[in-house]
């Protein structure tokens, strides 16, 4: 088991390196010289040289790459073009609001969607199942923006249930600001997730071992929640982990509409300002989170599926 984890961990090193290389090529070689974007067309030659020197753009490319690797390793991405703040500090400050929105949103979504998925798979073909599937398709079909506008206009502005937007960094004041975006995230994600988990579970119910379990005399409940559930854990876990990095992306829209100063807002602002070092740092961060998520799934597979260990 320990050997397996160590092996998987070592295997991520080349992947991480490759991702870093791609990000570097995209930003430092393909993307053009960001100093002009930053300083505008009327900057003097001396200003340009100063900025190029500060950000290391005057160095040869391999040296720049090593600097980038060092940035990743030390989590020190330099300063933002726009705000002149240290980027690592921006990320740390943005992480708080983002996580206080996304962690509860993600937990609620996952618990609800796995639970509902199990329930409708158990009652497959009955009216409850059909009803839920229709609702899911409807929920998936409406874009997030529609929910945001509806929520802000009716729930917040007309009925005053929630603040329209804003944020408070102290507890428990921030809760009221988080509630509506969280609700919208849950509603938007539920449609897809419920359908995915339902399908993953139903796929298992057609397997031969299910018939064996029934022939043994087990009740439908035992067959389903013991035999089927443990087998469907692999696709369920995969989906959960793959969604973690997307959480940050999903939060882009929500954070900027609801004025939550999280990582999503930071990234959108950075894109609007062509804030090159911040975009690069965020890209790196999301990619690395994704790879670490995959690593976590690989390790969890061992727990749920005994066949993985030998491979």
């Amino acid at each position: 088991m320990l050997f397996y984890i160590v092996r998987k961990l070592l295997a991520t090193v080349p992947t991480l390196f490759g991702v870093a290389l791609i990000v570097f090529v995209l930003f430092n070689m393909v993307g053009g010289d960001p100093t002009y974007q930053m300083l505008g067309r009327h900057a003097s030659e001396q200003q340009i040289q100063e900025v190029r020197h500060e950000y290391g753009f005057d160095q040869p490319k391999p040296v720049q790459f090593l600097t980038y690797l060092k940035q990743i390793a030390t989590f020190d991405y330099g300063r933002s073009f726009a705000t002149r703040q240290p980027i690592s500090q921006m990320i740390l400050e943005g992480a708080g609001p983002s996580l206080s929105l996304m962690i509860p949103a993600f937990l609620i979504t996952t618990i609800l969607s796995v639970g509902i998925g199990l329930l409708v798979a158990y009652f497959k073909g009955r009216s409850l199942d059909r009803f839920v599937v229709v609702v899911c398709v409807f929920g998936m079909s409406v874009p997030m923006l529609a929910y945001i506008l509806f929520g802000q206009y009716f729930l917040a502005y007309r009925w005053g249930w929630f603040p329209i937007s804003g944020y408070e960094s102290t507890w428990p004041d921030r809760i009221q600001y988080i509630l509506m975006p969280m609700l919208i995230f849950v509603i938007v994600s539920l449609g897809y997730d419920v359908r995915f988990y339902r399908a993953a579970i139903l796929e298992e119910t057609t397997q031969d071992y299910v018939r064996t379990a029934r022939a043994k005399g087990l009740s439908e409940f035992e067959v389903f929640f013991r035999h089927v559930l443990k087998n469907s854990m692999v696709p369920i876990l995969t989906n959960i982990v793959l969604e973690i990095p997307l959480l940050i992306l999903g939060a882009f829209l929500l954070e900027s509409f609801f004025g939550i100063p999280g990582l999503g807002s930071i990234t959108i602002d950075a894109v609007n300002n062509s804030d090159f070092p911040v975009i690069k740092a965020m890209t790196t961060l999301v990619s690395f989170l994704y790879i670490l998520g995959n690593l976590a799934t690989d390790i969890l597979y061992v727990v749920v599926d005994p066949r993985v260990r030998l491979k």
């Binding site: 064996t212 029934r214 022939a215 043994k216 087990l218 035999h227 087998n231 005994p306 066949r307």
Partner: protein, 332 residues
């Protein structure tokens, strides 16, 4: 008179499909006594497996259902039981082995656990006691070093070993009836013989009735006491093994017998190869059965009368312990 443990009477199992309702099992009757073996033979798609799943009441719903008939287990009609009562029969009084040992075990539980599960369920033992029972069962079915194997997962075992696990699971609660649905089809020839010997040995030891479903007449000749030949959901010939192999009447049965490979040595000790024959064509779709005898389009001795009304199953000879029935208009 030996007790008839299981008696199937006029069983009719239907499936509703997009093309209409099809009768996968149509008016099938047979019985099996304690310690005896009944072979059910026929090509794929003749309704053998559906018959066995009907006995277990494991027909996939809602598409399939048992329309009529009786399945009497020691005189009690299983079709009248609640699902709760039926669960107490399954795996306990009547057990089943399936034809796919590779996929019939749950990949994420140890084989010991899967066998123990049935024991805990029906015998109310603790998991620990059930585990030692499982080890005994593995010993009984010839799994080497069972105490070590008990904690292994199905993927660590060969097909033959997995089928032994299935047998151990099926026999763990000493059932009165064992249904083996093509238990050896997916296995190597040498392993097939081992599994059949094992089934026969165990049957003698515990005195249960065995229903052996197969398309291999060689297996039937070796193991069974009585035979039911099925074709397109119908019983077409039925009787004792001795009678049917000596004196097959229905052209379909004869065709099946001729299409079994035989290896014999002639007087000089050389291998004699019998010519292997086939029955032309395939089993007709249950949705478009011909009028009259269902075998008419493939029958080599078809008559005009075969295309009229479907022949009834009729008695052609009987002795003290078996009755020979055929569904054929010809007087052979």
């Amino acid at each position: 008179m030996v007790e008839k443990v299981l008696e199937v009477k006029s069983l009719r199992t239907v499936f509703s499909t997009e093309g209409g309702e099809l009768r996968a099992v149509d008016d099938v009757s047979f019985s099996v006594s304690a310690g005896k073996t009944l072979g059910i033979v026929g090509e794929s798609g003749c309704g053998k497996s559906v018959t066995s799943l009907s006995i277990m009441r494991l027909i996939p719903r809602p598409s399939g259902s048992i329309e009529s008939g009786q399945i009497l287990y020691r005189g009690q009609d299983l079709l009248g039981l609640s699902s709760e009562e039926m669960r107490r029969i399954r795996g306990n009084e009547i057990s089943m082995i399936f034809q796919e040992p590779m996929t019939s075990l749950n990949p994420v539980f140890t084989i010991g656990y899967q066998v123990s599960e049935a024991i805990v369920l029906h015998q109310r033992l603790t998991l620990r006691d059930a585990r030692s029972r499982a080890i005994e069962m593995f010993e009984l079915v010839g799994i080497p070093s069972p105490a070590k194997r008990v904690d292994e997962y199905p993927h660590q075992l060969s097909g033959g070993m997995r089928q032994r696990v299935m047998i151990a699971m099926a026999l763990a609660c000493h059932p009165k009836v064992l249904i083996a649905d093509e238990p050896t089809t997916a296995l190597d020839v040498t392993v097939q013989a081992q599994i059949l010997d094992l089934l026969r040995d165990l049957q003698q030891k515990v005195g249960m009735a065995l229903i052996l479903i197969t398309h291999d007449l060689g297996v039937v000749a070796e193991v069974a006491d009585d035979v039911v030949v099925m074709y397109a959901g119908r019983v077409v010939e039925q009787g004792s093994v001795k009678e049917i192999f000596k004196n097959p009447k229905m052209p379909y049965t004869r065709g099946l017998l001729r299409s079994s490979p035989t290896l014999t040595l002639d007087s000089g000790g050389r291998l004699r190869r019998g010519r292997l024959e086939t029955i032309p064509g395939i089993v007709p779709s249950l949705l478009s059965l011909p009028k009259g005898c269902r075998f008419q389009d493939r029958c080599s001795s078809v008559l005009e009368a075969c295309r009229g009304n479907e022949p009834e199953l009729r008695l052609i000879s009987s002795d003290s312990d078996s009755r020979h029935l055929i569904r054929c208009v010809r007087d052979i």
